[in-house]
């Protein structure tokens, strides 16, 4: 369904599909091109599976050189390109269009160099997020950003979306952990930006490219920071009788000068779904649950957790439990990280991704409840409390078109609410097609035009992932707003 999120395809391109597929095979070999219908179907959607569209063809290059050849070809023939990592985007960032070539980097997944002394790793970007940590873990290091999809998602996708994760309160998101990259421009030229040093020279192009949703180029290699892992880490659970009290407890912990490595919040519906799935031992008789994790030596951890328990006392926490073993810690995190999968077993859902100021949490949760009830829908909330990133999961039945439409409307209302209270439309998932038409809620037409003109610097013909991020009428805005 929902082909209508895309403009009508260019029939002069789709009519040449067989010829284009042959051309692509010449560029990367037949093994690197998927042109048959069954093969292409695997690429018709991403993590936002409500939207589907069969691409013109799929290319799976094995080298920067091959990416360069394909982009040069697409550029010369004015064919749209959809860059793709593992296709885990929750905002339709990798949604193809009928007249577009999908370039998937998943076969480019080698670790090129691990440099422990300089604390960097150079990798091909098709490597999974967890693959980077896996490669350096034997040396006691890790790659910090940890999106929930880290087992599957690629660094390329993380770079495109500036992905975060549960531990970014302490370690930052992707943009804070990428030092250098090799990127193929739309005309096939290959540029190197940054390197193994901090703060690349000139304008912060790395900062601009990270989070540009595949609209500036295809990043094929990256140098990332790797960090020495703490001696140990341990989570604890704190239950509360209301979300408001949980929020105040988080504020008190931060005010005391303790910045836990993660502070995760779940409301009652989320607790119940996750517990039923993961048997993490979450208390079921509380309205809100915090998972708080600290790092250090075992003794340091004990001291810090004891301080947190003391700070929490005035808030009358229930079900306080400090993990006593590695197994228990893993179970506690398994519950949280499997939230999306667990919910997916019982219902279809949209995972929203706004960010709000922590102080507005109680009010926002109440209003989210009202918005969803108003649309006759249920909602569960997961929240990275340390950094204000809120994930309301709106439940619906995808077989009921009316419900799905109402869920989309509720989601839009929730994101508008996030902007209204001083937050933003998306904290870590990206805009994609999902939030494209909400951008005018957060930005003026002049601000959108400014951003679009930056895209034009990198991609004058708008061939790279063009139907995302900005409202479809966007390119007219770009020209109008800046002429005077």
């Amino acid at each position: 369904m929902s082909i209508n999120v895309l403009p009508p395809p260019d029939r002069t391109i789709t009519a040449r599909r067989d010829a284009i597929a042959k051309d692509l095979a010449r560029l990367v070999g037949t093994g690197g091109v998927i042109a048959d219908e069954d093969g292409r179907r695997a690429f018709e959607t991403d993590g936002l599976s409500a939207y589907r569209c069969m691409p013109l063809a799929v290319v799976l290059p094995r080298s920067t050189e091959e990416v360069s050849r394909v982009l040069k070809y697409a550029h010369e023939n004015s064919i749209t390109v959809i860059p793709r990592g593992a296709g885990t985007s929750l905002c339709g960032g990798a949604l193809p269009s009928e007249d577009a070539i999908v370039i998937g980097v998943s076969r480019m997944n080698r670790v090129l160099d691990i440099d422990l002394e300089n604390r960097t790793a150079r990798v091909e970007t098709g490597i999974t997020n967890l693959g980077i940590s896996g490669a350096v873990q034997p040396h006691g290091f890790f790659y910090a950003p940890d999106p929930s999809s880290q087992l599957a998602c690629t660094l390329a996708g993380n770079i495109a979306m500036n992905s975060g994760g549960a531990h970014c309160l302490k370690y930052g998101v992707t943009t804070n952990n990428v030092l250098g990259m090799k990127m193929v421009l739309i005309d096939g030229r290959v540029v190197e930006i940054g390197g193994a040093h901090l703060d690349a020279s000139g304008y912060d192009l790395l900062g601009l490219i990270v989070g540009s949703e595949g609209q500036f180029g295809i990043v094929t290699e990256a140098t990332v920071r790797i960090l020495r892992a703490a001696e140990a880490a341990r989570p604890m659970l704190l239950g509360f009788e209301s979300s408001e009290v949980a929020g105040r407890c988080v504020s008190a912990i931060i005010a005391s000068g303790i910045i836990p490595v993660a502070i995760e919040f779940m409301d009652k519906p989320a607790i119940h779904v996750c517990e039923a799935f993961a048997k993490a031992g979450y208390p079921l008789d509380v309205e809100a649950l915090l998972i708080i994790e600290v790092e250090g030596s075992e003794e340091e951890i004990s001291t810090l957790l004891a301080r947190i328990v003391d700070i929490a006392k005035p808030f009358k926490p229930k079900g306080v439990r400090v993990s006593q073993s590695a197994e228990e810690s893993a179970a506690i995190w398994r519950g949280r990280k499997s939230a999306f999968g667990a919910l997916g077993r019982i219902s279809d859902y949209f995972c929203m991704d706004g960010t709000i100021p922590l102080g507005r949490l109680p009010e926002v949760l109440v209003r989210i409840g009202e918005i969803c009830a108003g649309h006759g829908l249920k909602v569960a909330n997961i929240f990275h409390a340390g950094d204000g990133n809120l994930h309301p999961l709106i439940l619906f039945d995808a077989n009921d078109a009316g419900q799905m439409r109402r869920a989309e409307e509720a989601g839009a209302d929730i994101l508008k609410l996030c902007v209204e209270v001083g937050g933003c439309l998306t904290g870590e998932h990206g805009v994609g097609v999902e939030k494209r038409d909400l951008m005018p809620c957060q930005f003026t037409s002049g601000e959108l035009a400014l951003q679009m003109r930056i895209k034009t610097v990198f991609d004058p013909q708008w061939l790279l992932n063009p139907h995302k991020v900005f409202p479809l009428g966007g390119r007219e805005i770009e020209h109008q707003a800046w002429e005077h």
Binding site: N118, G164, E192, H197, G202, G423, G427, E428, I454, V457
Partner: protein, 406 residues
């Protein structure tokens, strides 16, 4: 002769820039001007300072966020934070005294415009990593916002990062929102005396490879260490290598002891207590060993382990005194005064080892005749010019400050 303007409101500033854009009149943009001597000298018809746009507009200690108008003195910001036991974790250095300007006189806008971070950058990230939102005016006189006041925000392109570190060439910031963090309870420092550069950087990289969250890793060659205000260190007449730990009072002893075990092989280790440590790192924030000299000063960023080779290579061409920060990844190199401040040789060395070099201090005639900032590869230069044209189509903001054609 350039006119001066000190707009008292964002609207007035916007009008000034819009007028200048229409007249295609080059504008020099300043906070309080402490870093004015960095970059290629510019010819401007109008100098605009944001110093009257002052005041903290938002401070939520429990949300770790502060907002301020761009001209707010950094000293005021840091005082407000200290009152609540917080700080700017990226520890911005104060370039003023090194350039002959007064100390502690910079503005918060300029901190982000120049993306200058101090020793704690190795663990906490740089200025660019702490900037959450900006309000700014383009070279066309159009106001815009980038980012916001929340920690995680991937809505649209990251304009904060683009403007941060652009030295006033893309837009004039009128307000900034940034992340703040708690001040550590205790600080301790381990010090080696007399290490050669290679051993020192090896020790510093080893320290950062431990799990003890080292928050500063510096090495000063003996001639620069001799200029430290710390009397004992200056009197030692030896190179100084220092590693900082900042943590909870209950953890400090443990971490220092474990770190000593890890680094014992590098030589005798001295230890600074909390007070001594704070004084030492405060002094480095002012770059005190680089003050009181007019010799050309380079700021070089490279991979940490390449640091000693870069310095040794430069020293083959010219007299050179080095202060390494970021475990070797940031080099402050004071060189002998020559017509080009050694630029040709420094850049050749950098081309071989990787990284970039900026001439932070030199006479105006020297800065006018060489590339002060690292020249860009042609493809990146084209993208850079494109971005400049998006933000500043009439090319009026700090024209030519970063690169001759930018």
């Amino acid at each position: 002769m350039s006119q001066n303007a000190r707009p008292g409101s964002e609207r007035e500033l916007q009008r000034l820039i819009a007028d200048a854009a229409r007249a295609e009149m080059p504008v020099e943009v300043l906070g309080s001007g402490t870093k004015r001597a960095v970059g290629r000298p510019t010819n401007s018809g109008l100098t605009i300072t944001t110093a009257s746009l002052s005041g903290v507009t938002l401070y939520e200690p429990t949300e770790l966020v502060m907002g301020a108008r761009a001209g707010t003195p950094l000293a005021d910001i840091e005082q407000r934070l200290a009152d609540k036991g917080q700080m700017l974790a990226f520890e911005p250095i104060d370039l003023g005294p090194v350039l002959g300007a007064p100390a502690k006189n910079g503005t918060i806008g300029a901190v982000f415009a120049t993306n200058l971070s101090g020793s704690r950058r190795v663990i906490a990230g740089g200025a660019r990593d702490h900037l959450l939102g900006i309000e700014a005016i383009t070279g066309a006189g159009q106001s815009f916002r980038g980012g916001g006041r929340v920690m995680k925000n991937v809505t649209g392109y990251d304009l904060c990062r683009a403007v941060c570190g652009s030295w006033g060439t893309l837009a004039v910031m009128t307000g900034v929102t940034f992340k703040v963090l708690p001040r550590p309870e205790r600080t301790g420092t381990l010090v080696f005396l007399g290490l050669d550069d290679t051993s020192a950087i090896e020790a510093l990289c080893a320290a950062l490879g431990t799990p003890f969250e080292v928050s500063g890793a510096v090495h000063l060659q003996a001639p620069l260490a001799a200029r430290l205000r710390h009397a004992d260190l200056a009197a030692s007449k030896k190179a100084v290598t220092a590693v900082r730990i900042e943590t909870f009072a209950s953890s400090l002893r443990y971490r220092l002891d474990r770190l000593k075990e890890a680094l014992g092989a590098f030589g005798e280790i001295h230890e600074f207590d909390d007070e001594n440590s704070r004084a030492f790192w405060d002094e480095l924030r002012q770059l005190s060993p680089l003050q009181g000299s007019a010799a050309p000063l380079w700021r070089i960023s490279t991979a940490p382990r390449s640091g000693p080779a870069v310095v040794a290579a430069i020293a083959r061409y010219m007299e050179c005194r080095a202060y390494y920060d970021w475990s070797g990844g940031l080099i402050w190199a004071e060189v002998l005064d020559t017509a080009d401040a050694g630029a040709a040789d420094v850049r050749r060395v950098i081309a071989h080892h990787g990284g970039h070099a900026t001439l932070i201090r030199a006479a105006p005639a020297v800065r006018a005749s060489i590339d002060v900032f690292q020249p860009l590869e042609p493809d990146l230069a084209a993208i850079t010019r494109g971005i400049k044209a998006v933000f500043d189509p009439a090319d009026i903001l700090n024209r030519g400050r970063m690169l001759a054609d930018l």
